[in-house]
C-alpha cells in the first residue's frame, strides 16, 4: 500500500503522465456518455448534406453519406477504446494464467508453454494478427481474437520470469508447509508480487493495440461499415481525400491523441516503478 502511495506521488510530479491521465479520463467520460453528447445520430444518412466542410451545424463536416463526422468520431471512441480495453484484459488474463502455470509447475508444462511462446514470437506481431484476422474473415470480433492470440506471449514471459524468482522465497515455503494448495499459493501469494510490471506493460500496450485495431480496420479487416470505428472511418474517407480531407484528419487525430495519452502515462508509470529511473528524476 505504501508502495502504491509513493507511485502516485511520483506520478503527480510527472507533467506528461498527468496530462496523459487527464486525457484518458476525458476519453472515458466520452465513451460512457457518447450517445448523449453526440449532436447527431452517427449512422443516420442525410444525402442532401454530403461531404460538407466543417461549419456551424457540423463542427467536423459530414461524410460521403451525409453523416455527421463529429458524432461518428465521438461514438467511434466507444469502439476503438472499448475494443482495445477488452483485448488488453483478455491478453493479461491469458498471459497471467499461462505464465503462472509455466513458472509455478515447471517441467513438461513449462516446456510446452514456452515453446509455444517461442514459435509465436518468431512472427512479427501485426503480420500474424493480420493473417489470422484475414483468414477468420472481416469483423470486429475476429480482429480482437487475432490480437489476443498474438499478444499474450509478452505477458506470459514476464510473469513466468517473476514467478520463478518469487517461487523460491521463504514465505512460499512457509505457505506450502502449512498445507496450502498449489492454486491457492499461486493466486494468493505469488500473483500479487508479480503484478506491477504487467500493469506498466498493459498501459503501454493499450496504445499499441489501439494502433493495431485501427490499422486492421483501415485495411478493411476490422469493424465493418456503418460502424463508426476510427480506422474504418479513415478507410471510408480515403477515396474523398482531395475533396473532403476532413474525413481523414479528425479520426486520425483522435487515434494519435489517444495513443499519445497512453504512452505518456505508461512512460510515467515505468519511471515511477523503476527505482533506478527515480534517481534520474531527482538529478
Amino acid at each position: 500500500m505504501r508502495e502504491m502511495m509513493s507511485i502516485v506521488q511520483h506520478l503527480k510530479e510527472d507533467k506528461l503522465a498527468v496530462t496523459g491521465a487527464m486525457i484518458i479520463l476525458s476519453l472515458t467520460i466520452i465513451v460512457i456518455l457518447a450517445p448523449h453528447i453526440a449532436p447527431y445520430d452517427p449512422i443516420k444518412l442525410d444525402l442532401e448534406n454530403r461531404l460538407s466542410s466543417p461549419d456551424r451545424n457540423h463542427l467536423m463536416g459530414t461524410d460521403n453519406l451525409g453523416r455527421d463526422v463529429l458524432s461518428r468520431t465521438i461514438c467511434g471512441a466507444r469502439f476503438s477504446l472499448g475494443m482495445a480495453t477488452v483485448v488488453v484484459v483478455i491478453v493479461m488474463l491469458l498471459g497471467i494464467a499461462m505464465g503462472t502455470t509455466a513458472g509455478y509447475f515447471g517441467g513438461v508444462i513449462d516446456g510446452i508453454i514456452m515453446r509455444l511462446v517461442d514459435v509465436l514470437l518468431a512472427f512479427p506481431n501485426i503480420i500474424l494478427a493480420l493473417v489470422i484476422a484475414g483468414i477468420l474473415g472481416p469483423s470486429l470480433t475476429n480482429v480482437m481474437i487475432a490480437l489476443a492470440v498474438v499478444w499474450w506471449v509478452g505477458y506470459a514471459r514476464i510473469i513466468r520470469g517473476s514467478v520463478l524468482s518469487v517461487k523460491e522465497k521463504e514465505f512460499i515455503e512457509a505457505a506450502r508447509a502449512m498445507g496450502c494448495t498449489d492454486s491457492y499459493i499461486a493466486i494468493r501469494h505469488i500473483l500479487p508480487n508479480v503484478l506491477s510490471p504487467v500493469i506498466v506493460l498493459a498501459t503501454l500496450d493499450m496504445g499499441h493495440i489501439i494502433l493495431s485495431i485501427a490499422a486492421l480496420s483501415f485495411l478493411g479487416l476490422g469493424a465493418q461499415p456503418p460502424i463508426p470505428e476510427w480506422g474504418t472511418m479513415l478507410n471510408e474517407g480515403r477515396p474523398f481525400m482531395e475533396t473532403a480531407p476532413h474525413l481523414m484528419i479528425f479520426p486520425g487525430l483522435m487515434i494519435m491523441v489517444t495513443v499519445l495519452a497512453f504512452n505518456f502515462l505508461g512512460d510515467g508509470l515505468r519511471d515511477a516503478l523503476d527505482p533506478r529511473m527515480k534517481e534520474d528524476a531527482i538529478k
Binding site: 512479427p124 477468420l136 482531395e242 495513443v259
Partner: protein, 314 residues
Amino acid sequence: MIKFIAKRLAIATLIMLGASLLSFSLIHLAPGNPAEVIIRAEMGEDPSLTEIEFFFQKYDLNDPFFAQCAQWMHMITHGDLGTSFRTEEPVLVEFFDRFPATLELAVAAMAIAILISIPLGILSAMKQNSILDHGSRLVALWGVSMPNFWLGLVLILFFSVKLDWFPCFGYGGVEYLILPAVTLGTGMTATLMRLMRASMLEVLRQDYIRTARSKGLKERVVLWKHGFKNALIPVITVMGMQVGHLLAGVVIIETIFAWPGVGKFLVDGIYARDYPVIQGFVLIIALFFVLSNLAVDILYTYLDPRIKYDVENA
C-alpha cells in the same frame, strides 16, 4: 563462441519448424471456401459444383488434414512453397520478384531513421533538460503514437495533392520513394532516438567515463571514443529487432502507396484467400525475423565482450 552460435542455430531451426506447422494449421482451420472465392474472382460469376470439385482435386485439398500437413513439411524442406492460386506461379518466385522493391523501401526508411535519430539522440543527451532535449523527446513520443498509415495519407494530402511535389503512389524513381520511406521511417526514428538518448545518458554516468575525464582527456575524445561507441551497442540491438517492425510496417505502407512489394502482395493474397501465398509469405517473413534476431544476438557478443560470460551461464 562457436558452441554458442551452433546452439542458437539449432534452436532457430526448431523454432522455424514450429512456425511452419503453425502457419500451415492456421489456414486450414479457417472457415470459408477458397475455391469459391478464387474462381469467382477469375470468372466473375458463381462457380458450379464441378468447378469447385476440380479445384479441390487440383490442389489436393480433399486429402485429410494430417496428410496435407505431412506433404507441406516435405515440400518446404525441399525448398518448395507451392504455387499461388491466383497467378499459378511458384510462391518463392512471387516473393523474390517483389522482394527488391520492399528491400529498397525498408533500406531507405532505415537510412532516414539512422541519419536523424542518432545525432538528435546524442545532442539530446549532452544537453539534458534543455529546450532541445524536451522538444525532441516530445516529438519522439509523438512519432511513436502516430498511426503510420494515417501519416502516409496526410503526407499524400499535403505533398502530392496540395503541393504536387511528389506522385501520390506508384513505383519508379526517387520521387516515388520519398513519401513511403518517410512514412515507414518515422516510427523507427522516434524509437531509436529515445533509445540513443537513454543509452548515452547511462554510459556517461559510468566509472570509466569519469576515469577518462580525470586522465585529462579532451571532452570530445571522452564523448566520442568512450561514450558514443559504448552507447551504440543497445541501439544496434534494437535496430536489428526493428527489422521485424519494418517488415510489419511495410505491409500497410505498401498498400497505401500501391508499392509493388511483398507486403501488398500478401494483403491482396489475404483478400483473395490465396492460401499458398499467405502461408508461404508468412513463413519467409518469420525466417527473416528469426535470422535477424539471431544475427543481433551474435553481433552483440562481439560488440560487448562482457556479455559472453552471461551467455555461458544462461
